[in-house]
């Protein structure tokens, strides 16, 4: 399974390690202000600090392993579906309480449409309208979730 792309420093181990180190570092920054306490009287920071330190250690181990040995290559990132799908969720979140469920769904579908190159706008439009109608019936009318349909 080893390919040239998985060479030292450019493999899943190295970048996984880096990711864990980054998360642990951010956590440690925020844990800093919490009191740690002792084993007998643990403060709110005791558990998070321990976990973050273990995570930091494991991350460093993985990163070093990735630097010293070859590993599996990392997959390639495709920005178009990533950005479009994430944006579509953001749009839904922004609009659902301000403009109502129907507009939020239409906006989400409109943005998500561009995530794939295979979509056709007529089909997406019909799907969007059907989804909005079906959601209105299922979620609002049948399951009674407390959300406005329109502004």
């Amino acid at each position: 399974m080893r390919s040239p792309a998985g060479r030292r420093g450019h493999n899943t181990d190295f970048y996984s390690g880096l990711l864990l180190v980054a998360v642990a570092t951010v956590a440690l920054l925020y844990i800093r202000t919490l009191s740690v306490g002792t084993v007998l009287e643990m403060g709110p920071g005791y558990f998070p600090l321990g976990l973050a330190l273990v995570l930091l250690g494991m991350g460093l181990c993985l990163a070093v392993k990735g630097l010293l040995a070859e590993g599996n290559p990392i997959g390639s990132f495709h920005l178009r579906p990533l950005i479009c799908v994430l944006l579509s969720f953001t749009a839904f979140g922004v609009l659902v309480e301000r403009a109502g469920l129907i507009i939020a769904i239409l906006a989400q579908v409109a943005i998500a449409h561009f995530a794939s190159v295979e979509t056709r706008w007529q089909q997406s439009l019909v799907s969007g309208v059907l989804l909005a109608a079906a959601s209105a019936v299922i979620f609002v009318w049948l399951l009674k979730i407390p959300v406005d349909l329109l502004p």
Partner: protein, 321 residues
């Protein structure tokens, strides 16, 4: 297609109605926010209230559970909502009178809301595991003094009423008991039943069924007066700690910018509700007593409570140093 057309039409009508004056309130669905998870005691009170408001106001009232942070998240949401009378809150003592003192909240318990009325009150019950040689409040104080730090009490979480009511008790009696927090009042009560903790100042809703089955021994209620559901129980005040009074309340509150005409209308409805036999019966199952206060009385009560907890916390902080 008909359904969509109908939805569009009714939404359009709702839109034009919002513009109308508060005189015609309520003209659309009212959202009653409950800052706690569904199924709890506040949730039950809110649903009973919603049912009554719906009947009296002729508009749909939906219960919207916004749990989080011991009631802070939902209360905060209501404080920031538009004061149009369509977002109301069944708030509770924990998030309104205790939390703003004990931690930082972005709302002010007195300034951010317009209180309408207390809807129901419920005392806490002092319950102990029956295997303990404690039969009265006097026994409890004596035992706690003889064994400092040995008695443990369960609470619904740090900073909640179940925690602070024991803190207040400790401060007044010079006792020291060990705090064991749980995730909610119900597991804390269960822990008294199983004996994992020795006692708890638990609310009447959770305590009553266990008392009836003799799974726990009840010693007293924390309210100033005896309780109608367990009249045989003395109050903490009449036994060991004169003047001790802790009562949990749920009340209807609105965002501060709500017009007074809407508050007045709501106040009238709640006054009728407090006297309604159906409502009284439903509240009794929860272990709660119905109540009515005027908006002014309610506001004064909150201000007084905030002061009480502020002083207690100061007292505790001084003792620690």
């Amino acid at each position: 297609m008909m359904r969509i057309a109908a939805a569009v039409l009714s939404a359009g009508m709702a839109l034009s109605a919002t513009a109308a004056s508060a005189q015609e309130w309520p003209s659309k669905t009212i959202k009653l926010v409950v800052p706690y998870a569904p199924g709890g005691y506040t949730d039950s009170v809110a649903r009973i209230t919603a049912r009554y408001l719906e009947k009296e106001l002729g508009q749909t009232v939906i219960v919207d559970n916004r749990a989080g942070g011991g009631g802070i998240v939902g209360s905060d949401l209501v404080a920031k909502s538009p004061g149009d009378g369509y977002t109301l809150c069944i708030c509770s003592v924990g998030a309104i009178s205790v939390a703003p003192v004990a931690q930082t909240t972005s709302y002010d318990p007195v300034k951010s809301f317009k209180p309408v009325s207390v809807v129901s009150t419920i005392p806490q019950t002092v319950i102990v595991n029956p295997s303990l040689p404690i039969n009265t409040m006097q026994d409890l104080v004596a035992y706690a003094k003889a064994n400092p730090g040995k008695l443990s009490y369960g609470s619904s979480g740090a900073g909640g009423l179940m925690h602070y009511s024991v803190q207040l008790f400790d401060a007044r009696n010079g006792t020291k008991m060990t705090h064991v927090p749980f995730k909610g009042g119900s597991p804390a009560t269960a822990a008294v039943v199983s004996g994992e903790v020795n006692l708890s100042f638990t609310n009447m809703t959770d305590a009553l069924p266990q008392m009836e089955a003799n799974k726990v021994r009840a010693l007293a209620v924390t309210s100033a007066k005896r309780n109608e559901f367990a009249p045989q129980l003395p109050t903490v005040s009449e036994t060991v700690t004169p003047g001790y009074s802790v009562e949990s309340w749920n009340g209807l509150m609105a965002p501060a910018s709500t017009p007074d005409s809407i508050i007045a209308k709501l106040s009238d409805v709640l006054k009728k509700m407090a006297a309604d036999p159906e409502v009284k019966k439903s509240m009794a199952v929860v272990g709660a007593s119905t109540e009515f206060t005027t908006p002014d009385e309610y506001k004064a009560q909150i201000a007084a409570e905030v002061e009480q907890w502020r002083e207690l916390l100061k007292e505790i902080a001084e003792k620690k140093n």
